[in-house]
């Protein structure tokens, strides 16, 4: 007799709620009139995310390896990562809701009359909300996936909507579409790499579950394992933007609508690093001699390369892209540490960095001239005079990225590097410190431009943000400030939740 598999719905409820919200969103597109759509969609998105957060809170003390027929592992670290994704999603959705960053009608050819009329009609592409929710759901699944197939499914579930969303910028649409195509093609390659590696891992261990791979350690031909690890890593390192798999990052960050860039930079990193952490801490921990040198080298190159190349950037979104590459290097250092401290540090870092990043991109959306967002840094000069508050907030965020004490970035960096030092990887600490010094240069240069340079006669100004953006930016900035002064609030939780189970 065939027995129905036990899905333990209660444990995967947070993800199901978000997925459900996305499906309802699709129905809304079909059945609700255009006038009300945006408001309804936003309500559904926020509602689904809040409900998911509540469900995550409910299961916060439960751990299980058997959810959804053994393909999902609910454990402390997984729950923390899911909560991080949802919180970031909540802040990001408020930024996304500012419709004037998005194209009126995606199908209209750039520059055509159709496009003009869609803009005049103030039509909106409200499909971004369900797409956004699908991405969030995928990101929630990614760090709790317990086997390679689930990992792959999650990877695609959150990647595909992002490919689409990246192409929906209202201004500079060709650039946006180009970036979407680039992201899609390279993303498809990286998925292929991931699958290829997964096949080798299956060949090596005869199972697709991470704990099975870990249990098979030493039992079979190491070459298969090595190939498997390398290819799976390539697929994931692509998503986090580690060097040498970073080349899409600056273009996509620049081309995508800024709220989406912020969401990608913050939440994709959480999801992808969550998965990386789980795979390496659970699946490959027994074979660390094989991969640790590789990842260490990649971490060092990523930190230094990101910081160095960021110096040459003249566009704020590209600069933040390279800065995010450098931060990926820092996070990899935490992963290589392969101890509980490293895991706790990574969890803290991901949350703090994600919020700061959202605040940064949120502020970028506010600096505009008559034709839209101004991301050319040379035109940011004198912003400190025009709108001191926004410039001060952005400076604080940059100082946090730079890791100046009394910011959350500093605590994160300290946590990561003390974990790396503890694991004996002193080279990582030295490289991290050096690249921080390099990075400080370009963060500070932006502060100089805003505060110490007189503005050229230019129409650039900071618009008064909508209530939604304002809430998002204020929440993200305030939490960053609080985490800098009282890191214990999150650090204790990160330490308690720094636990993967097999």
């Amino acid at each position: 007799m065939l027995t129905a598999p036990s899905l333990t719905y209660s444990l995967i409820a947070p993800m199901l709620i978000v997925l459900g919200g996305a499906l309802v969103g699709v129905l809304v597109e079909a059945f609700i009139g255009r006038v009300h759509r945006a408001a309804v969609q936003l309500t559904i998105s926020i509602g689904a995310l809040l409900l998911a957060l509540q469900q995550i809170w409910r299961i916060r003390n439960i751990s299980s390896t058997t959810a959804a027929v053994n393909s999902v592992t609910i454990d402390k670290a997984g729950i923390f990562l899911q909560a991080t994704v949802v919180v970031l999603g909540l802040v990001a959705v408020l930024l996304v809701a500012d419709q004037d960053n998005f194209v009126g009608q995606a199908s209209a050819v750039p520059g055509s009359n159709e496009e003009k009329s869609s803009l005049q009609e103030k039509s909106q592409q409200t499909e971004i909300f369900p797409l956004f929710l699908f991405a969030v759901a995928g990101m929630m699944l990614f760090p709790v996936a317990a086997d390679l197939i689930t990992l792959f499914v999650a990877l695609e579930v959150f990647s595909l909507p992002l490919y689409l969303l990246a192409g929906l910028s209202r201004r500079r649409r060709l650039l946006s579409q180009e970036s979407a195509l680039k992201y899609f093609l390279l993303g498809a390659y990286s998925s292929a790499f991931f699958l290829f590696g997964a096949a080798f891992l299956y060949g090596y261990s005869g199972t697709i579950s991470l704990s099975g791979i870990s249990a098979a350690a030493g039992s079979a031909n190491n070459v298969f394992l090595l190939i498997g690890i390398v290819f799976v890593s390539i697929g994931l390192l692509f998503k986090v933007g580690a060097v040498p798999f970073h080349s899409w990052t600056p273009d996509v960050y620049q081309g995508a609508p800024t709220p989406i860039t912020g969401f990608m930079a913050a939440a994709t990193k959480v999801a992808a690093f969550g998965a990386l952490l789980r795979i390496f801490y659970i699946g490959f921990a027994e074979e660390q001699a094989l991969w640790r040198p590789l990842i260490t080298v990649i971490a060092i190159i990523t930190m230094l390369f990101g910081s160095l190349v960021a110096i040459a950037q003249r566009d704020v979104k590209r600069m933040l892209a390279y800065s995010s590459i450098a931060h990926a290097g820092f996070l990899l250092s935490g992963m290589v540490a392969l101890n509980k401290d490293g895991l706790a540090a990574s969890l803290f870092y991901l949350f703090a960095y994600g919020l700061t990043t959202l605040a940064a991109f949120g502020i970028v959306t506010l600096v505009r001239d008559s034709s839209g967002e101004v991301s050319d840094l040379n035109r940011w000069t004198g912003l400190g005079k025009k709108s001191p508050l926004v410039a001060a907030a952005f400076s604080f965020i940059l100082l946090s990225f730079a890791g100046i004490p009394l910011t959350s970035g500093f605590i994160g960096k300290f946590a990561i590097f003390s974990a790396a030092y503890k694991s004996g990887n002193i080279s990582l600490v030295v490289a991290g410190v050096l690249s921080s010094a390099i990075a400080a240069f370009f963060y500070i240069r932006v502060i100089i431009m805003m505060f110490f340079t007189d503005s050229i006669n230019d129409s650039v100004s900071v618009i008064i943000p909508s209530v939604k953006s304002r809430i998002a930016i204020i929440i993200a900035t305030v939490i960053s400030v609080i985490l800098g002064l009282l890191p214990s609030l999150l650090l204790n939780a990160a330490t308690t939740y720094a636990n993967f189970i097999k």
Partner: protein, 501 residues
């Protein structure tokens, strides 16, 4: 709550009050800032009177958990060395506020931000000297760069933003090297005695030689950039030239002392063996700084540049005194830190007044000030004499102690260092002669003498310089026990005793 925390917290409260005043009433802001800093000065003197100098340990101790996960505490406490430096800071700030009443009027962001920055900076200056938790110290050490950065970049003159950036990048680089060492110490402590940042506990660590040397260097380079020692000094002249006189006073008078203070408190206390290893090198660098700073000062055409380079020379003396590892050298160096603070303050403030009146900072533009503005000229003269360590003025005592203390261990270094005193006569007397004496050069005829406000501002400094020259005992009594303790804890004994005279 310890009184120390109150002293450190008061400036923040002052900053908050200033922040609540509307920006337009700049006169009220200035008065509130002056009032606040005066109150802080008085409370800090109260702190000093309550300090028991017969106890060599740390006093006014307070410790609260800050970040439990890393065992970071808000832990403060002072011994004699920290106390005198805190007093230096709290006394200098109100003087600076009063002396540079109009400095903030022309800045980029107006009066309000200026005084908020000054007050926030004061909290950090007190905090950095009071911290007994390594992490807390590091936080203050790095965070205090930010207000200074904005003070230089926003209110300075000339190429201010470039100078501010240079200052910040140099300091950040040093700070990040130190961060690597801080992490190293923290992890080693975690392996040996359990994770802690408590300085007293960290001093008991057993670290192998190679690691200790590297960790020492991380700290030392950060402090050598701050102090600044040759060859890490290049940011200082630029910063001092670009900053307003008031900012320069705080920068050279107090902030740079964090470097030398750090050498005593961290380099020597945490890594005595490595200190021993590197002492010859550091003494050499110190001697080079003394001579190099002096020669560069002689060649300066700009008054601010002159004072900056004399400071580099003086920091050479301080570093030499510290690493001579004798109780006399150590006491002398500590006393020097205080005296240099006041003497530089007087030089910069009077020079600042001269420059505002004349609209130029070039030495050659002045001349015959003695006849036009006698009070200002006398103030500058006394400041200059204190800078060249004239006997009877405060700097003499400390310079003498440093040289005696160094001679007993490193006679050659002390003798070359003495050359610095001779050069000091040159770099001070020549500018004094050019600016104060001789014929009145054109453009100087109608300069006004010091106003009442300026006289009130400068008189306490001159009083301190003179009194400390004749009667340094009260300060030395505070410093001596702590300084001796540093030397003894580092495993040194004074060589004089061995020679038996």
């Amino acid at each position: 709550m310890s009184l120390l925390t109150i002293v450190g917290g008061l400036p923040l409260l002052g900053a908050l009050i200033v922040a609540l005043i509307p920006s337009k009433s700049s006169e009220i802001i200035k008065r509130v800032a002056l009032g606040a800093t005066l109150v802080i000065a008085v409370v800090s003197i109260f702190l000093a009177t309550g300090f028991d100098k017969n106890i060599t340990g740390i006093q006014y101790v307070q410790s609260n958990t800050w970040v439990a996960a890393f065992n970071i505490n808000y832990a403060v406490g002072i011994d004699g060395i920290s106390l005198v430096l805190i007093l230096l800071s709290t006394i200098l700030v109100p003087i600076v506020v009063l002396a540079t009443w109009h400095e903030s009027d022309v800045g980029r962001w107006g009066t309000k931000s200026f005084y908020i920055l000054i007050l926030v900076l004061e909290t950090m200056m007190i905090g950095v000297f009071a911290a007994t938790d390594l992490f807390l110290f590091y936080v203050f050490f790095e965070a205090m760069l930010i207000p200074v950065y904005f003070l230089i970049g926003g209110y300075g003159t000339g190429n201010r933003s470039a100078a501010a950036v240079k200052f910040l990048l140099y300091s950040l680089f040093g700070g990040l090297l130190m961060l690597a060492s801080v992490i190293g110490v923290y992890v080693i402590a975690g392996n040996q005695i359990g994770a802690t940042f408590d300085l007293a506990k960290l001093a008991t660590l057993q670290i192998d030689n190679t690691t200790e040397n590297l960790l020492f260097l991380g700290f030392f380079i950060a402090f050598a950039i701050k102090a600044p020692l040759w060859p890490f000094h290049t940011w200082l002249p630029d910063a001092a030239k670009a900053a307003t006189p008031g900012t320069s006073v705080l920068l050279l008078g107090v902030l740079d002392k964090v470097g030398t203070y750090g050498m005593i408190r961290f380099c020597i206390a945490l890594f005595p063996d490595a200190s021993k290893t590197f002492t010859p090198l550091i003494i050499t660098l110190a001697v080079i700084s003394i001579i190099y700073g002096a020669f560069m000062a002689i060649g300066q055409k700009d008054i601010k540049g002159l004072i900056a380079f004399t400071s580099i020379s003086h920091f050479g003396f301080i570093t030499m005194g510290i690493f001579a590892m004798t109780s006399q050298g150590m006491s002398g160096a500590n006393l020097y830190m205080v005296n240099h603070g006041f003497s530089t303050a007087s030089l910069f403030l009077v020079a600042g007044w001269m420059m505002i009146r004349r609209g130029s900072s070039t030495i050659a533009d002045f001349g015959g000030l003695q006849r036009v503005t006698p009070v200002m000229a006398w103030a500058f003269f006394i400041a200059g004499m204190s800078g060249l360590a004239l006997p009877g003025l405060s700097s003499f005592v400390s310079e003498f102690l440093v040289l005696v203390g160094t001679y007993t261990r490193y006679p050659v270094a002390a003798i070359i260092g003495t050359l610095g005193i001779v050069l000091a006569a040159l770099y001070i007397l020549i500018p004094i002669q050019k600016t104060l004496h001789g014929p009145i050069t054109t453009g100087n005829e109608n300069l006004k003498d010091l106003s009442l406000r300026e006289k009130i501002a400068i008189s306490p400094i001159i009083l301190i310089i003179v009194v400390m020259g004749f009667y340094p005992k009260p300060v030395l009594d505070l410093i001596n026990p702590a300084a001796e303790k540093v030397v003894v804890n580092a495993g040194f004994t004074d060589p004089i005793a061995k020679m038996g005279k």
